[in-house]
């Protein structure tokens, strides 16, 4: 189990995997990721490019899903 080791006494922190403060939606989007169920057909790179076009923010994917017929790129920048 994970626990906190304090360097200084007198503090109390909570271990969370989410920020305590809810970010504004645009700031949240820029610091977020999504779990996508990729359909058959388009390449991982194409899917990332489509989402970038629709969302109008820079988008990348991690880990090409099978490389046949595609030249994989890791990141797509605007």
């Amino acid at each position: 189990m994970r626990s906190l080791i304090y360097r200084e006494k007198g503090y109390k922190l909570r271990l969370l995997n989410k920020p305590l403060v809810k970010r504004e939606i645009l700031e949240h989007l820029n610091l977020s990721f999504c779990l996508l169920d990729k359909p058959r057909g388009p390449t991982s790179h194409e899917v990332a490019a489509w989402i970038k076009k629709i969302f109008e923010i820079p988008t990348a994917h991690s880990g090409t899903l099978d490389n046949t017929g595609e030249i994989p790129l890791c990141q797509v920048y605007l």
Binding site: P19, I25, H28, N30, K38
Partner: protein, 251 residues
């Protein structure tokens, strides 16, 4: 060919090299080029558990020289005539199409992959209710753009903190945020606490008291040393993630 894919937005792209090292789990269908007995198939599949040499295919993003990849588990689920359905848990960078080809070579008859689905990437599984299809994701975005309803978009887009939860964390004081996001290393006086999985020379996330990640660092001390320190370097900064924190910016 289908299945789980992690899409990174905006500044989250900076950590793509960290999360591309996640282990993956696949369900795969392959076809043999001749009939082979079931016992022979199971025997050959079991040989592939453990470290294997694999030469990346011609069309790959990496150097085409043999490299070692670990197959954590491989399990035959079904055999119908020449078709085999199996599940494999593998190290990052293992080519499943190549694995199918190699299994065919060992069986002596040849084989090729016919269908592939990724079911897990590191801690994330396709059963997760937050997994979105392309339609759902675009629908959620349009709902926000056109009707100003953020609910669905927030349901499908998860914060970077959740993605990097597997890394040890160092919690810092608000007074240290400015210097760390502007090029300074993490110094002991600014550190409040660390998670107990902190080791020396490993990637860590630098979090605020409200658990927002502001940077990715590389630790230069271990836990026992950190507890005794009152000055000096605790971690080097590798990447700064966020300058614009919702809180802690009034320094």
């Amino acid at each position: 060919m289908s299945g789980l894919l992690i899409i990174l937005f905006g500044k989250t792209r900076k950590v793509s090299d960290l999360i591309s090292k996640f282990d993956k789990e696949y369900i795969c269908e392959m076809q043999l080029h001749d009939f082979v007995s079931e016992s022979k198939i199971i025997e050959v599949f079991n040989k592939f558990i453990g470290d294997i040499y694999q030469k990346p295919p011609l069309r790959a993003a990496v150097k085409k020289s043999p490299r070692i990849r670990r197959i954590y588990s491989i399990e035959v689920l079904d055999i119908v005539k020449r078709n085999i359905l199996f599940k494999a848990k593998v190290q990052a960078g293992t080519y499943i199409r190549k694995l199918c080809f190699d299994i065919g070579e060992i069986l002596g008859c040849g084989a090729h992959m016919t269908e592939l689905r990724r079911t897990k990437i590191g801690p994330f599984s396709e059963d997760d209710e937050r997994v979105a299809t392309l339609h759902e994701l675009v629908g959620a975005y349009k709902e926000w753009k056109n009707n100003k309803n953020e609910k669905y978009l927030r349901a499908f887009t998860l914060p970077i903190e959740e993605l990097l939860d597997f890394l040890p964390k160092i919690y810092i004081k608000d007074t240290a945020i400015f210097s760390i996001t502007h090029g300074s290393y993490v110094a002991a006086p600014g550190v409040i606490a660390a998670t107990n999985d902190l080791k020396m020379n490993s990637y860590v996330t630098i979090n605020t008291e409200r658990n927002e990640i502001i940077a990715i660092g590389i630790s230069t001390v271990d836990l026992s040393k950190l507890q005794k320190m009152d000055k000096g370097m605790v971690a080097k900064i590798d990447k700064v993630i966020s300058f614009t924190q919702t809180a802690g910016s009034g320094i």
